[in-house]
Symmetry: C2
Subunit: 437 residues, 2 copies
């Protein structure tokens, strides 16, 4: 008999069917036993009558979270969740659970188990339908993003994560022995996206892990996370990158809302806002002025600390009713050497950050594609050696003007679902003190 | 003016348009100059008349592979490639190429530049339309694969590549310092796919890098490559995994043929065969018997070396007209401890390899999900320690029967396009002696 997913049972009332899943809860009333069975699609009540002695025996002493196969008849039952239940004819136990569950799954306790403990037992925490929804949304977010890219003639690349030299700065770098030499884990696919531009791929995207040996313990940082990156050629300025990014994001958020808007509202009390395009833009100078007017404590000029990012975002949410804001005109000093500089104001880069509800979810820029200029900018930043010579060669044999962006989907999901930390939105989080499971 | 892609010019004959790209070739006849311009979509002839002195001057002394913007009028011209040409009105040079190209791009030389040299200058090699086609096909292959997965209710995961313990065997492992401890690069997402099964995700796929510190120099091996992995729950046996894999592959190859079949035939003289389902299956024992009949030199019983794989594949191509064959019933000794064993023949695993036109492109199995059995199998294989205890815990609190597969897209593409090596199908190849660019 073919399996019926739990959410499809209500269309099969009166039929005999097979369901598979985990025992969410058990309630024993003596002559009758109620199981709540859970699969990836939902939960359903299963009734086991004592008079069906085989099925009754099979479920006697069975622990919560054991995995079972049940064959039975679907019936309407107004008292049951979803309005249907299954009266079990046969029960087969596929996997027994240890009765001592390290963290509760079905129970609604006041306040969840501590995050550290839930992360130790990540796969049990992820059994909660509310947590599974995060990865259903992730899957849809990525589907829609790729659909956008493919509609717009992007090619996909998978670039190497083992590199002979740092791609960003020397700090925050994992180093490892590589046969008779050294290798580094890629901090971003930056060099290879640019290589693809030099190769004439014109528009590329990459989805893959990036690594940062950052001794950071905030809710926004991981030592390894998934990066969403794209790079496009023949741009006029970083404005073209911003335009592509905002269109893509609006497309993706619309798709997520269409598919999971109701589930997200129910589980996370979050009404998804599809952003209007264009997103608001603010220069660094204007941003600082706004923050001053708002009496926000400022750390230094030319950059925003997390508190300032939050305040600025709040301002735009309040004043422009927009969850997003691009901050532009970052000064040269705090940006990588490969960011292009403004033609008329050489201390300003043609770069931007994108804030979403208070945190930075993306950084982008037009890249410097002129060999001589790029070489000079690298030297100014004391970046030299064999490694950079290799990178510089990309620009020597004809390279179109180009730019791109790197985004963090774990942060995006954190904002999309109002989660407390990227520890919750990453399938398996990696931090300074966390390398298991 | 909006850019027109080169392949779209033929629909715009008579119109003034803007094109962008690389100078593929230049031919100077004195009063008239012919450029072949190349973008990601194709090539077109551009005519520059001496009487248009600005455009003529802009292209004087310009090297091949420089990047230009051209505004001009599209005209029919039977002699030109594609039957159209553009008469330039304005030419703007966006990026000049060094006139000394390290490897030829447009020229059809007898025999290509050596592979090593082409890999040193990978981004120039990738400018060749024939090479770009590889990554157009890769993009479509992955699009179609994901479409198949999403149609069949899979969720996507991104699992960590930094692990506290080896996921497969201790050999071929990259190790690195991780703050105050050690970490290893994932040789496969195996543990995390299984964790997702224990988490009740039921069906997952993952696309991402895997790392093998393998001192191997064959055309099939890399130290880092993209892996396509899936894992499914509630299976009856490894046969369910094989069924899912063959359906997916047939779907993907059909999609590639539909989109790029003609281009592949033209560039690679390869007629794509969409495989019929089911693929042929052969047990190890039968395979050895066939090889003996074919008088193929056999190395050892219970396993196939590359020569035997090739001969076996050839046999099935000849006898069954099928490019694929599943080899089943591998013995316990050569398979990982987590492969489930046959209920009646405990020395046989419920696993398989998939051969495509002579090489192994995938390995899969039903996994052992019973805690006590798995623990025993780990001990038999002398696999112990803290790390494995962590993994074993996945199976302690209810885990459905499950199985999965790991595939290598670079090998798949090698077979799809009849390429000589994964060095050609990887965007940027990594090997023992190759960590640049």
């Amino acid at each position: 008999m073919k399996r019926t997913k739990i959410k499809a049972i209500k269309k099969k009332v009166g039929e005999k069917l097979k369901i598979l899943g985990w025992i969410h809860t058990i309630r024993d009333l003596g002559s009758i036993r109620f199981l709540i069975l859970r699969d990836i699609s939902g939960i359903v009540q299963v009734v086991i009558l004592k008079k069906n002695s085989t099925a009754y025996k099979a479920t006697s002493g069975l622990s919560q979270e054991s995995v079972v196969e049940i064959i039975g008849k679907a019936k309407e039952e107004k008292q049951a969740p979803g309005g249907v239940e299954v009266e079990a004819a046969e029960v087969k136990v596929l996997s027994k659970s240890d009765p001592e569950l390290p963290i509760p799954i079905a129970e609604k306790t006041k306040g969840e188990t501590s995050q550290e403990k839930r992360m130790d037992w990540r796969w049990l925490d992820l059994r909660k339908p509310k947590k599974q929804l995060i990865f259903k949304v992730w899957t849809e977010m990525e589907r829609a993003m790729r659909e956008y890219f493919l509609k717009h003639d992007f090619l996909q690349i998978h670039s190497p994560k083992l590199m002979s030299a740092p791609s960003e700065s020397g700090a925050e770098l994992f180093e490892l022995p590589y046969f008779k030499r050294k290798a580094y884990l890629a901090q971003s696919p930056q060099f290879y996206k640019q290589m693809a531009m030099a190769a004439g791929f014109e528009k590329v995207f990459e989805i893959g892990p990036v690594f940062r040996a950052e001794p950071s313990f905030t809710s926004r940082h991981s030592t390894e996370f998934t990066g969403y990156d794209f790079e496009i050629s023949f741009i006029e300025s970083h404005e073209d990158v911003m335009r592509e990014a905002e269109q893509m994001l609006a497309y993706v958020i619309q798709a997520v809302k269409d598919k999971y808007g109701r589930a997200i509202a129910k589980e996370y009390q979050r009404e998804i806002q599809v952003p209007t395009v264009p997103f608001p833009r603010v220069t660094m100078q204007e941003a600082k002025k706004i923050l001053k007017e708002q009496k926000v404590k400022q750390e230094k000029s030319g950059d925003l600390n997390p508190g300032e990012e939050k305040a600025l975002s709040n301002y735009f949410l309040k004043e422009k009713k927009h969850e997003f804001v691009f901050v532009t005109e970052y000064p040269v000093g705090i940006r990588p050497f490969y960011h292009m500089r403004d033609e008329k104001r050489p201390k300003i880069t043609k770069s931007f950050d994108l804030l979403w509800n208070g945190i930075e979810i993306a950084t982008g820029s037009q890249r410097e594609h002129r060999y001589e200029v790029l070489k000079k900018q690298a030297e100014e930043n004391n970046i030299g050696g064999e490694s950079i010579q290799h990178y510089l060669k990309f620009f020597k044999y004809g390279c179109p003007p180009h730019g791109g962006i790197g985004m963090g989907p774990a942060r995006m999901l954190m904002k999309l679902l109002k989660l407390a930390s990227v520890r919750e939105s990453s399938f398996v989080y990696r931090g300074v003190k966390r390398i298991t499971p």
